[in-house]
Amino acid sequence: MLAILPQLIYTGLGIGAIYALCSLGFVLLIRAANVVNFAQGQFSMLGAYIMLVLLVGVGVPYWAAFLLAVILMAGFGVVFAGAVYWPLRHRSQLAVIISTIGASILLPNVVLATYGPSPATVPGLFANPGFMVGPIFVDTQYLSVMVITVAMVVLQYVIFEKTLLGKKLQATSQDKEMASMLGISVAAMVLITFAYSAILGALAGVLVAPILFVSVGMGGTLALKAFAANIIGGYGNIPGAILGGLIIGLAETLGAAYISTPYKDAFGFLILLLVLLVRPRGLFGELIAEKA
């Protein structure tokens, strides 16, 4: 049993990286726009379907379909912001939440109506499925997921910490009105955040597509995991969202292998309950409390 542990950890981190990407987009919107986006998982679902249609339906080459799906989803993020968030931006947070819940119901049903219910598969990023490194079969798709997740985290760090745009985004997330009084375009900052958040969601979708089936329901599942990751890590905390995603991925994979496969999805939430019992504010929650 222990012999497969390294393999399980590898797989768990790979799945966890997907949750982390999705969770990262979720947290960004909380921080920059105070939007709890219940449709975050639908960004992944739509991204995966766009890729599927481009690849299988239109016949676009693989990498082009991958990139195009992500770029189109960035645009969709802006449209989403305009339709779901912007009209309600001066209303209570609850109004916006309900609006995103509405979108999370509408979007899968639009796909259902246009594409139909049958799940589909998409091939992996690389033709070579993987190679052995010691005891571990390094699946290239999981490897791609991890590399892209790390790249996105680094990119995000650079943007937020090293550029003036990043400072403006942070300022907007901390005090929108004050940011506007300094001449920062809050609307532009919010739209950029939505676009970026949709990119993260779409990346999670197109990366998970070869691993799981592309299905209408995949967005809901991913959103739940991303939300749980965010709570485990500490509500609204960026490193926490990443760590939370990885923890859930590991818990699921290890739980499925060692305890029970049918209950795979339950292990992540079990961890969530445990974390809430021991650290109600999540792993990095205290930091937020201090800052506030």
Partner: protein, 241 residues
């Protein structure tokens, strides 16, 4: 022509009207004090000028151009910077970053020039220089006020709106703040100063207005205001010079 000319300014929140027709002028180079008790409408007046309120009517002209109906971004680009009540320092950004963002109204400013201006600003605020890499939320009230002033000045405004810069500060720090305000004017920036601390405000101001429940009760030179029995009764009553 006055730098700022306000006529018949009305403003209301959903709960009702709180400014009932104000006339205020500010000449270039002046420090004008806007005084009044809690709830008189001082903050509302400044927020109306800055384009932060949605239900405003009347005339707000700045340097001959109307500001009414413009958004806060356009107004700060026109040259009015607002250092708001409560300082509103960005808590998760460092002192340097807070100051840098003060120049956001000048998008064409090159990076090097921006950094240089920030360094120059830090020269004026030795306290901030010492704390330059500290996050906003770790600063004391006095330091936050200095930071808010520095950030406001980074806009290189023609008119600076200051909302209760002395609130909650120790007397020594209050004096420091007012010294800075006097210095700001000496460097050519016009100031509209909202204060509860009438004594300090009138000591630096050229003229003042006293607001009472959304109306101008009286206006004039500091001496005249200080000795006006109406003002004393309505507002300065308990305060001894």
């Amino acid at each position: 022509m006055s730098l700022l000319a306000i006529e018949g300014l009305h403003a209301r929140y959903n709960a009702g009207e709180v400014l009932h027709g104000l006339d205020i002028t500010v000449e270039e180079g002046e420090i004008v004090a806007l005084l009044g008790a809690n709830g008189a409408g001082k903050t509302t007046t400044l927020r109306a000028i800055s384009g932060l309120l949605s239900h405003v009517s009347g005339k707000i002209d700045f340097a001959g151009e109307t500001m009414l109906g413009k958004g806060p971004g356009a107004i700060v680009r026109a040259g009015i910077a607002h250092v708001p009540e409560g300082r509103r320092v960005f808590p998760g950004l460092t002192v340097r970053e807070n100051i840098l963002l003060g120049a956001s109204n000048r998008p064409t400013l090159k990076r090097a020039a921006r950094e240089q201006e920030m360094e120059a600003m830090l020269e004026h605020f030795p306290d901030l220089r010492r704390m330059q890499n500290a996050l906003g939320w770790t600063l004391s009230g006095g330091q936050q006020q200095m930071l808010a002033l520095a950030r406001g000045l980074m806009a290189t405004p023609k008119l600076l709106l200051l909302d209760e810069p002395s609130l909650g500060l120790a007397p020594l720090i209050v004096q420091q703040v007012f010294r800075i305000i006097a210095e700001i004017r000496k460097r050519g920036t016009t100031v509209l100063l909202v204060e509860q601390n009438a004594h300090m405000a009138l000591s630096v101001a050229d003229r003042g207005y006293v607001l009472e429940t959304g109306r101008i009760l009286v206006s004039g030179k500091p001496d005249a205001l200080w000795n006006d029995p109406k003002v004393r009764a309505a507002y300065l009553g308990g305060v001894e010079a």
